[in-house]
């Protein structure tokens, strides 16, 4: 086997040194009846070129080169090539969790930088190294709120990503934590009155998402006021991290759970992504996951270490803040690099482009069908209600235009009828939007939006 660095003679030599006659002797501790005496029934060893061919064939079945007008928790942003170029260094991707700081300063410093950037973006004071993703991060944030407040129930906005809500439900179910849902109003935002009514003295926290699953930006300050008035904590989940480039950070929140996928992480059919939890300094000892802190070495030189580990499972065992161990370090590194590439101005300009594309798409598609939840601001997503079934539209778009259309909402929000949440990012071309607009309601005739700005003249290189 080509990964194994042993010659037959070396194996013989080692067995002799150990003092056994055959490798089987080393497996003697396994009771004989449990020792496998046949080959596993899996495909035979393959050449590297066969493996590549096989996955290429699978990749082709997935189809690539589609225009993606779909977000819903996974966003199609351009990934600067330096990201893969850097994380492909073995020093990054073949290292373990930085338990030995003297030979892991690279990883540690990078995490420290990441924590800082997340604080800057979210308006929080501390951030952890990463969580598995936005959904589990949200669930952990709720449990964190329960630990902080000593209360034992939580309210989740119905406008939170449905799969996040499912995950929270799974985490909560067997711990006897009652969850209730709070509705949204006509403008797609959390119903403040309903929220106010729902909070009880046992409510540890209210979890909202902003921009929410409909793309609508919540009025975090107003919600925070209601929540805090009742002594509960406000947890804000953010699935589209890029929104923070232009949208007011949820500074009034007590805990922010961010999905960082937008920051240079491939869509990769849903993972790996990276969640991260940020909060106020006073809650730091209840935060789950790894934290990197600054310190000095014996000569007073600055260095970084994993810290506050008495919160964690390897020290605290059943009393730990979470069972999380392996997290998503390499993905957080991608996000770090992404934030460095765009930086202070770039992240804002990029967010502006998303805003403009989505506004255009909303107009273009809105000319053919009904845009729901007008009346509150949105970032790069919006909900479109159509006469026709949303799945039908998607199928037609995929087959005819190689466009991946919006996420049909019927399954999770039957009350919205034939509605879907659409997304436009900096990668969505006007042409794709126009094509989609023509398909969402073919009966309405070809798109008539005036070409206000001419398509940018990309110099022809020839």
């Amino acid at each position: 086997m080509r990964y194994l660095p042993k010659s037959p003679a070396e194996r013989e030599h080692m067995l002799r040194e150990i003092g056994v006659g055959s490798i089987d002797e080393l497996f003697a501790p396994i009771p004989a009846q449990f020792r496998l005496t046949r080959d596993l029934s899996i495909p035979r060893q393959m050449a590297e070129s066969e493996i590549v061919d096989w996955f290429r064939a699978r990749a082709a079945e997935n189809g690539s080169g589609y225009d993606i007008l779909l977000g819903a928790g996974a966003y199609n942003h351009y990934r600067p090539v330096v990201i893969d170029s850097l994380i492909s260094r073995g020093e990054w991707f073949t290292a373990y969790t930085p338990y030995q700081p003297e030979i892991a300063q690279g990883t540690l410093q990078a995490i420290f930088e990441f924590q800082t950037m997340v604080c800057e973006l979210t308006g929080m004071e501390v951030a952890n190294a990463s969580m598995y993703d936005g959904s589990t991060g949200a669930a952990e944030a709720v449990m964190m709120a329960i630990r902080i407040t000593g209360r034992n129930s939580a309210i989740i906005a119905r406008s939170v990503h449905p799969e996040y809500r499912e995950v929270i439900a799974t985490y909560a179910k067997y711990q006897g934590l009652p969850l209730t849902e709070v509705a949204f109003t006509d403008n797609g935002r959390v119903d403040l009155a309903a929220l106010d009514a729902a909070i009880t003295p046992q409510t540890a926290c209210v979890l909202i998402q902003s921009p929410n699953f409909f793309g609508t930006i919540e009025d975090v300050a107003a919600i925070a006021e209601v929540v805090h008035a009742k002594g509960a904590l406000l947890v804000v989940s953010i699935a589209e991290a890029l929104s923070l480039g232009i949208v007011r950070p949820p500074s009034e929140a007590d805990i922010v759970s961010l999905e960082a996928q937008s920051f240079g992480v491939p869509l990769s059919y849903g993972g790996p992504y990276a969640g991260v939890i940020a909060t106020r300094e006073k809650f730091v000892r209840q935060i789950p996951g790894r934290l990197v802190g600054q310190t000095t070495d014996r000569n007073g030189k600055r260095g970084f270490v994993l810290t506050l580990s008495t919160r964690e499972q390897h020290i605290r065992r059943e009393k730990a803040t979470s069972n999380i161990c392996t997290n998503q370090a390499l993905i957080a590194l991608m996000a770090n690099i992404y934030m460095d590439v765009y930086g202070r101005d770039g992240i804002k300009e990029l967010a502006m482009q998303n805003l403009a594309k989505a506004a255009y798409a909303r107009k273009a598609l809105g000319a053919k069908a009904k845009v729901l939840f007008d009346g509150a601001p949105r970032f790069n997503e919006f909900v479109l209600q159509t006469e026709e079934d949303s799945y039908e539209i998607s199928h037609r778009l995929a087959a005819k235009n190689r466009i991946i259309g919006g996420f049909p909402l019927r399954k999770f929000y039957p009350e919205l009828g034939n509605a879907a949440v659409w997304c436009a990012t900096e990668l969505t071309s006007r042409a794709a939007i126009d094509a989609a607009a023509n398909e969402v309601n073919p009966a309405a005739g070809s798109n008539a939006l005036p070409a206000e700005a001419p398509a940018a003249a990309i110099s022809e290189v020839k």
């Binding site: 600067p80 480039g245 802190g293 390499l330």
Partner: protein
């Protein structure tokens, strides 16, 4: 400093590098956007009060500075690509490069999790193929790929147990966990609302059957067992253990962190395990990435299958794949989408590269390497248990503590000798543990260098203990003050702060 015996490394220049923020200067850029092909919008009009007033103070740097920053930082890390990384329980094996290539193919890395099943057949096939092969490897009946790491798999597995027991009318109260278990085990049980009850090991480092018999009752949901356990010892009475649990309606959960000792040699499904997780980032070669991403599939027997998280990939008679969400007894989701799909791709590529013979040889080499180290180092270091071990060996620092040297000191000195240390002070059943797992990826040459280094350090403990206490001395930084870090935590950089 007498480092004449250090053969594996030399010192060399290493670039200093500040925090990326310290390179920032207004107006530097590493990006350029495309020109907008739609009308610009006024962000204040669009967003109103939701408009961000102050930009996030992200660094402003150019592309070359980013390249240098992360290149320089990277050179401060030790990695599997540098040499042996014998962290016990972590299975730091070679991460094949072809895995990285196939995971980055456009149609794979660019697939949106909500694109329709019609244009996701490739992704679904990958998940299905991996699921099938992991089922065959574990000898279990069903599997979910949704969990994102080992601990997440544990959570899923214990949730399955709980859901199953509830369906039988009683979720029970406690989970038994051996004293040698990894911290995630008790932490997980607690997250699922179980009390943790400690199960002590016998003098051979295995589950004490009598204790198990005594502690097992109708309040106990089951046992979380690592096998081979964290001492590297295969639980030889595994059949009896399963029997005791099953007899009283309990379930056997296996923490599969140590499957690298078993793949193609023995199958948990054959020895009584009801549910288990795998760590694709250990046994199946997906990279550890400096702390993730991992992937922790959970495999189970038929009776637990109805409770698996949804969706599950199913295949129609015509070979068309789809996602089945119609699973009324499911515990629900444990993660959005389908888990760390990119890791599924890599693990499958690893299995394909190995085949049945390759996987068997891999396991044999892993056990061979560990036993070779054990043989060469016993005597020099104390072995608390005489029981044969499989893929890893755990020594204690008993002989060295007498000289004032602890496992953590030896670990730091190993750094000077050019190695990443072993796992320090775990499992807790061993006094000052030195937990060593070489994996199959180490050449004989590297093992011999390790043995020499360990012996040399043992000698230094006698001759010049200060060398060890001051270690590491050849690194950019000397020992870091972890106490100070925790006492007054500085968890982020700030412009007018510390430097």
């Amino acid at each position: 400093m007498s480092n004449k015996d250090i053969r594996k490394v030399t010192t060399h220049i290493s670039q200093n590098e500040g925090l990326i923020f310290e390179h920032s200067s207004p107006g530097k850029k590493a990006y350029r956007l495309r020109e907008l092909d739609v009308p610009e919008v006024n962000s204040a009009d669009e967003l109103g009060a939701a408009l961000r007033q102050e930009s996030a103070a992200l660094p402003e740097v150019s592309e070359i500075e980013i390249i240098r920053h992360f290149t320089r930082l990277s050179t401060w890390n030790y990695a599997v690509d540098h040499g042996m990384y014998p962290l016990g329980s972590c299975t730091m094996k070679y991460n094949p490069r072809v895995n990285e290539v196939v995971a980055r193919l456009d149609g794979i890395a660019g697939a949106h999790p909500y694109q329709s099943e019609q244009i996701s057949q490739g992704a679904l096939r990958i998940m299905k193929a991996l699921a099938d092969q992991l089922i065959e490897i574990t000898g279990m009946d069903a599997i979910t790929l949704q969990p994102a790491a080992g601990a997440h798999g544990e959570l899923t597995g214990i949730l399955l147990m709980r859901a199953y027991l509830e369906s039988k009318g009683n979720a029970r109260k406690k989970v038994l966990i051996p004293d040698s278990a990894h911290g995630t085990n008790p932490a997980t049980a607690a997250m699922v609302g179980y009390e943790v009850e400690n199960l002590r090991s016998n003098e051979n480092g295995m589950v004490d059957l009598a204790a198990l018999e005594a502690q097992m009752n109708e309040d106990v949901a089951g046992l979380m067992l690592t096998n081979p356990n964290t001492l590297g010892i295969f639980e030889q009475q595994i059949a009896q253990i399963a029997e005791i649990l099953h007899r009283r309606g309990g379930l056997l959960y296996m923490d599969g962190a140590n499957m690298n000792a078993l793949v193609a040699k023995a199958r948990p499904g054959d020895f009584g395990v009801d549910v288990m997780h795998l760590n694709l980032h250990k046994t199946f070669s997906t990279p550890h990435g400096g702390g993730g991403p991992g992937s922790g599939p959970v495999a189970c027997k038929k009776h637990l299958e109805p409770f698996l998280p949804k969706p599950i990939v199913v295949e129609s008679a015509e070979g068309k794949l789809r996602l089945d969400y119609d699973r009324p007894q499911s515990i629900g989701r444990v993660r959005a989408f389908f888990g760390n799909f990119g890791m599924h791709v890599r693990a499958l590529a690893y299995i394909m590269a190995n085949g049945p013979d390759g996987l068997r040889q891999t396991t044999e080499d892993a056990v061979l390497n560990a036993n070779y180290l054990r043989k060469k180092l016993e005597g020099t270091f104390d072995l608390q248990y005489a029981t044969p071990t499989m893929h890893e060996v755990v020594f204690s620092d008993k002989l060295q503590t007498k000289l004032g040297i602890k496992t953590g000191d030896i670990a730091k000195r190993l750094i000077d000798y050019g190695f990443h240390p072993y796992t320090v002070s775990f499992p807790m059943v061993v006094h000052g543990a030195l937990m060593i797992e070489p994996t199959e990826s180490e050449p004989l040459e590297e093992l011999d260098l390790f043995v020499d280094a360990m012996k040399s350090i043992a000698q230094e403990a006698i001759d010049s203990p200060e060398l060890i206490k001051d270690a590491p001395q050849s690194t950019r930084l000397s020992r870091l003050d972890e106490t100070a870090a925790a006492r007054k935590p500085i968890l982020r950089w700030s412009a007018n702060g510390q430097k």
